[in-house]
């Protein structure tokens, strides 16, 4: 109202002409940008950009972070044209099933060309977060010298680089605050990359090199930790001994997140006491991980630090039920817990008993390929956790068999699941008590958990599971399917019934062309579809590609396989057109 009045009053002034010409918006650009600039949420920014041209422009000029869930959905040119002022880029590359060797090497998702464009358009780039991309040492070196303000690099599930690349980052990124290398395939050349941080360098806040398997130069590490007073996250690798850990903790009692090294060494009584003291000195510790090769009798040194822990990642520490029970007694504040199934049901009972605030549980298999009667966790452990931890909303559970009744009980106890990932490790395993399919289990999940966003199903499943999903899972965004379903109808149910579906990944299911094509209208509203070892043929894919030109329909061909079948299909929307860098085994139809 006020602004409109202003317009009328200032009709004669040059300013008013200016404002009138600019149409609906009454605010100068700078103000609009300031306001919109305060929006952090991607969804909000997306909505804002659709209001009108002025708002679109204000949004694009004020945007500082961009998240690209599929690096091939857009090109660096298009990105930089729309958003001129980006400081932080997050990019995801390969389809998720590449984690499980279903995508051949050299498939793509190479960061290099992006960096070349960024060097020109975003010289002030500060942060780069990559997942499942190929990153070479050359790229890392290029990055280190192209962006003077560079602060944070996080590489998750990437491949293609070595510690040479890390050395370049350490040497040349003078303002680095974060170096986070997680679960990558990295060539550890056992050189002294840590020594490349200059003596004058003090800005580091996050350092994670836990996946490296060679020794690092401990002297350099200790000096680095000592002079970086803002260090909050330190995740060490296995080579760091308990004694070395104690020295580091002594230097950095301010740590919030700690990944220990190997937790096994012969300690004298004094060393033990010192270590315990070091842990009790860390008053801010909220996250603990690492703990490779654990000697259980040293676990008590952790107890003083446990009270404040909210995230405990023991997923590489194969403890047994007694060890975990004794530890968890001290961990009443845990919100997120990752464990190995060596703790068995008894250990999960301890979780249920001692961790009432638990929100997320992940149980990983110690021995996924075990023969015969391997141990692990079962339905009773699952129920036990759900009984004690009513706030549970995220679960990843690997087991060898399950029952429909148990799952139904679990979701009854915890109806707020947003992420439900159940992996029954034997493909096609039915309910082991009733020998029925596991349809009712997942039916119970989708019926009860209305907030469900992510679902991974397993076990013996017919189309009925998919009918349930399509009918009830209205908030579902990500669905992972393996060895399930009876016919095309199953996949159709999901495509037609789940309005918010963004990512669908399927392997080894009897879904064919009819199923694939039933989603014709749907795929443009999704990020991607993956189908491998299903019944889709090349003709079906060609038809899809023809009908939907704005989708990239890619088939990964294996050598010497039947030419009419499309063994691995990857479909995704893109404004960048077909890939320019596709290797010979990727056919874009």
């Amino acid at each position: 109202m006020e602004c409109c009045n202003k317009r009328r009053m200032m009709k004669e002034s040059p300013e008013s002409n200016f404002m009138n010409r600019r149409g609906s918006s009454c605010f100068p650009d700078e103000v609009l940008e300031r306001v919109i600039g305060m929006l952090k949420s991607r969804k909000d920014r997306s909505s804002v950009s659709l209001v009108c041209k002025e708002w679109y422009n204000a949004e694009r000029w004020s945007r500082r972070n961009v998240f690209i869930g599929n690096c091939y959905s857009v090109s660096p040119e298009i990105l930089t044209r729309r958003f001129p002022n980006i400081r932080s880029v997050t990019l995801k590359g390969k389809p998720r099933f590449s984690d499980f060797n279903l995508v051949p090497a050299n498939w793509g998702a190479d960061i290099h060309f992006w960096l070349v464009v960024f060097a020109e358009k975003y010289p002030f780039l500060e942060e780069l977060r990559l997942k499942r991309m190929t990153v070479t040492d050359e790229s890392l070196k290029f990055l280190a010298r192209s962006f003077p303000n560079f602060k944070a690099i996080s590489l998750q599930n990437c491949d293609g680089f070595s510690t040479d690349g890390l050395a370049a980052i350490a040497a040349d990124c003078k303002n680095l605050t974060e170096l986070d290398i997680q679960e990558n395939v990295i060539d550890d050349k056992n050189d002294n990359w840590l020594t490349c941080f200059p003596e004058s360098f003090t800005s580091l806040e996050v350092l994670n090199f836990s996946i490296l398997h060679n020794d690092v130069n401990f002297d350099a590490l200790e000096k680095l930790v000592t002079r970086c007073k803002s260090l909050k996250t330190l995740k060490l690798n296995k080579s760091i001994t308990l004694e070395q850990l104690q020295r580091l903790l002594f230097r950095a009692p301010q740590l919030c997140e700690l990944g220990t090294g190997s937790f096994s060494q012969e300690l004298t009584t004094q060393q033990y006491t010192e270590l315990e003291g070091a842990f009790s000195n860390c008053k801010n510790l909220n996250t603990l991980s690492g703990l490779w090769v654990v000697t259980p009798q040293y676990l008590p040194v952790l107890y003083p630090a446990c009270a404040n822990l909210t995230f405990l990642n023991f997923s590489y520490a194969p403890l047994d039920s007694d060890d975990i029970a004794k530890l968890l007694v001290h961990c009443a504040n845990i919100r997120r817990l990752w464990v190995v199934d060596t703790i068995e049901d008894k250990g999960l009972e301890a979780v249920g008993t001692h961790c009432p605030l638990l929100e997320e549980l992940r149980v990983f298999p110690a021995d996924p390929f075990a023969e015969g009667d391997a141990r692990g966790v079962t339905d009773s452990g699952f129920i036990a956790v759900s009984q004690g931890c009513r706030n549970l909303h995220y679960v990843l559970y690997f087991c060898r068999h399950m029952t429909n009744a148990a799952v139904a009980t679990v979701v009854q106890n915890c109806p707020d699941f947003t992420h439900f990932r159940l992996c029954i490790m034997n493909p096609g395993q039915p309910d082991y008590r009733t020998s029925e399919p596991m349809d009712e289990a997942f039916g119970a999940v989708v019926k009860t958990c209305s907030k469900l966003q992510r679902l991974a199903i397993s076990g013996l499943l017919t189309d009925l599971t998919f009918e349930y999903i399509g009918k009830y899972a209205k908030n579902l965004e990500t669905l992972s399917v393996a060895f399930a379903g009876s016919s095309d109808w199953g996949m159709q149910c999901v495509l037609e019934g789940c309005p918010k579906l963004r990512k669908l990944e399927i392997r080894d299911c009897p879904f064919g062309n009819a199923a694939l094509l039933s989603g014709l209208e749907k795929y443009e509203s999704m990020r991607s579809l993956w189908m491998s070892d299903c019944k889709v043929t090349m003709n079906g894919c060609r038809l899809l590609a023809k009908e939907m030109p704005r989708l990239n329909v890619e088939v990964i061909k294996e050598d010497g396989s039947d030419d009419s079948q499309a063994e691995r299909v990857y479909v995704y929307r893109s404004v960048a057109g077909p890939r320019r860098d596709a290797p010979p085994f990727v056919l874009t139809l």
Partner: protein, 262 residues
């Protein structure tokens, strides 16, 4: 039709256990071109008790799976009602006293390689584990090319082991590579009932056409399929597809155990 032709040219690798296993062998090849009716109907529950010396490379579809339980729970009745359970089985060589190992499907269970390696590593000595990890990491990005020779074939081939994730995949690739050289009939008269004794094994080896073997880092010639895939890739220096008769000198685990038992 296609299927028939394929059978004739099929390279049979491994020790045909019995009729049932022979049927498995037939199934090796293009899983997609084979009808699902050629299912495990021939594999009745006897198979589970006949454990076996079957090599992993035993001619099953590269993709599949094999849950022995599938037979037992009666779900795999008809082809269309159940998911891909009808695909052929891969059988790991295993101790006859234990139930047969569940075969490894590519990328299943969905556990990241990094995590899989973590525990395998913790089981072995630290030193060895560091060595393994180092080799694994150094190998990435480089090929793992090994020569493959087949007895009777005029020339050798080379394969990059890193292109494959499992024994069945390798088996399939090798089969295709050498299919033109296979001679003789693939249908040998196996024994209906397979008794785990040395003599039976000898007979079978005699009847078997080809056996895949490899030379490891120590220079020893080993039977393919005994060790986990990753370990095999690390240690394999070259492959040789031997005639069954010549492979008798190699002692499969089961044979040793036979000897121990009798």
């Amino acid at each position: 039709m296609e299927k028939m032709v394929f059978e004739e040219t099929e390279l049979r690798l491994g020790l045909p256990g019995n009729n049932k296993k022979k049927n498995n062998e037939k199934k090796r090849g293009f899983s997609e071109t084979e009808s699902e009716t050629e299912s495990d109907e021939n594999n009745n529950s006897d198979e589970t008790s006949n454990t076996t010396v079957d090599l992993l490379l035993n001619l099953s579809s590269p993709k599949k799976e094999a849950n022995k339980n599938n037979n037992n729970n009666g779900v795999v009745a008809e082809n269309h009602s159940s998911p891909n359970n009808n695909k052929e089985k891969n059988l790991l060589p295993s101790d006859p006293a234990k139930p047969p190992a569940k075969a490894q499907v590519v990328g299943w269970p969905p556990v990241r390689s990094y995590r899989k390696n973590m525990f395998a590593v913790q089981k072995s000595s630290t030193e060895e584990s560091q060595k393994n990890e180092k080799n694994n990491n150094n190998g990435n990005g480089n090929g793992s090319f090994v020569k493959v020779s087949m007895d009777g074939a005029p020339y050798l081939r080379k394969v990059d082991l890193k292109n494959y994730n499992s024994y069945p995949q390798l088996s399939d690739a090798l089969g295709k590579m050498f299919s033109s050289f296979t001679i003789g009939s693939c249908e040998s008269e196996g024994m209906k009932d397979f008794f785990m004794n040395e003599r039976a094994l000898m007979d079978l080896l005699n009847n078997s056409d080809y056996v895949p073997t490899y030379e490891d880092k120590d220079g020893d010639w080993m039977l393919v399929g005994d060790v986990p895939w990753e370990m095999f890739v690390e240690s394999c220096k070259r492959l040789r597809i031997m005639k069954g008769k010549e492979a008798i000198g190699l002692a499969p685990r089961a044979m040793e155990k036979c000897k121990n038992r009798s």
